[in-house]
């Protein structure tokens, strides 16, 4: 036992007063009534459409539908395209993430990504075999590198090409929401030894499609 800690702090007493163990009982007190009022107000709020329908910045119309499901009139579409030449990736390949596309969500806006594109293009063959593990595409938000990146749902380790610029692929399970000031980054990582298989004239192409809306 530590000398600087009194015995009453280190020995568990079995002489527990009744007031110490506050077991739930069927005799509500005034604080239960207070919480019941809180619960009743909350149920009314939800019944009227929830906080989204009640609390809006001054001057902004309430959204008729969820803005991440249907683009509202105030929405702004985006479709940036990023390109990375395989020749620009440092040799030998080391599976580090190279940035292909960077997009920051405007302050005061949230958004939703509905479609993504990650593909490889080259004169002749690219040398890339789907799911062979030579390239991993990663789409992330909340950070640039290291442990601060958060990879978006199901898009953190793509080893196949997805969609094309003419026919983008919808993201799995509906849109992916992004939030104000998020830094959305699409990267590609080339596996160790892949330089002998990937055409050095190839280009990595990435794109995201969706819209922003005032939050």
């Amino acid at each position: 036992m530590r000398a600087d800690v009194g015995q009453r702090h280190t020995v568990r007493s079995n002489a527990v007063g009744e007031c110490y163990l506050r077991k739930p009982d069927q005799n509500p007190n005034v604080y239960d009534a207070c919480l019941a009022v809180d619960c009743g107000i909350w149920n009314q709020l939800v019944g009227q459409g929830g906080l989204h329908k009640l609390c809006c910045p001054q001057g902004r119309q309430k959204y008729a539908h969820r803005p991440w499901v249907a683009m509202p009139a105030e929405g702004r579409r985006f479709k940036p395209i990023g390109i990375l030449a395989v020749a620009d990736y440092p040799l030998p390949f080391d599976f580090s993430d190279a940035e292909v596309l960077r997009m920051r969500v405007p302050l005061g806006y949230d958004g939703v990504i509905t479609d993504v594109v990650c593909e490889l293009s080259a004169p002749g063959g690219t040398g890339f075999v789907e799911a062979a593990g030579d390239i991993a595409w990663r789409l992330s938000a909340n950070g640039t590198a290291g442990n601060v990146r958060r990879f978006l749902r199901d898009l953190g380790n793509l080893q196949v090409t997805i969609g094309s610029l003419t026919v983008p692929s919808p993201v799995p399970r509906g849109g992916i929401r992004i939030y104000s000031d998020d830094l959305v980054i699409f990267t590609a990582a080339f596996a160790v030894g892949a330089e002998v298989r990937i055409n050095p004239l190839a280009r990595v192409i990435c794109s995201v499609t969706g819209w922003f809306y005032p939050r």
Partner: protein, 201 residues
């Protein structure tokens, strides 16, 4: 009435290592929990996600869970542990894996997220005061209490998302600390009315 105004004696006040000053975070948030702590009709319930501590979050991937709580419950705290004796960076064993984890909790009823954006797990985890992170010598924990308890309405569903940004699988657990009503809302109203407090409602 005197009985109701006595000092609340519960686990929050027992600490050999913390001086209970009114200026600390804990004292401030406990003040927000005063009504909840004094209420009789609530009991503590902790929900763990993932329930199986052996289930890893795959590298660069995520897991999503839906936790069903009793409608009318209050979510008052979050705490997090990650990982269990793992190292995510072979070159630096002091890299805390909790930093690679992002979490979000959303009230499925109102689709209102608890946090304005995904938060790193290290915000809710313990931290090492000595020794390396990998050796798991974590002697301190961040206060798990939220600034204000959050009411979870009907149907009492919480969506929990845990993202792993590390290049290795990570095993972790998020614990949701909930105060659960002992009886459903309607029944509680009846009890309150029987107790002669209908005027408050």
């Amino acid at each position: 009435m005197m009985e109701q105004e006595r000092t609340v004696l519960d686990g929050w006040l027992y600490s050999n290592s913390m001086v209970y000053l009114p200026t600390t975070y804990r004292a401030s948030v406990l003040a927000q929990m005063e009504v909840l702590r004094r209420a009789r009709g609530y009991r503590a319930r902790w929900y763990v996600t993932p329930e199986d501590s052996d289930e890893p979050v795959v590298a660069f991937s995520q897991v999503e869970y839906q936790v069903r709580v009793q409608p009318g419950s209050y979510l008052w705290g979050i705490t997090f542990a990650a990982p269990f004796g793992e190292t995510v960076d072979a070159d630096d064993e002091d890299v805390d894996p909790a930093k690679f984890i992002h979490v979000q909790v959303t009230d499925a009823c109102t689709e209102t997220p608890l946090l304005s954006d995904y938060a790193r797990g290290s915000h809710f985890a313990g931290f090492a005061s000595f020794g390396s992170v990998a050796s798991q010598v974590k002697t301190s924990r961040r206060a798990p209490v939220m600034i204000m308890p959050r009411l979870i309405g009907d149907p009492g569903l919480l969506d929990v998302e845990i993202y792993n940004g590390a290049s290795v699988d990570v095993r972790c657990q998020l614990v949701l600390l909930v105060a659960e009503p002992c009886v459903p809302y309607g029944e509680m109203r009846d009890l309150i009315e029987k107790a002669g407090m209908a005027g408050i409602l």
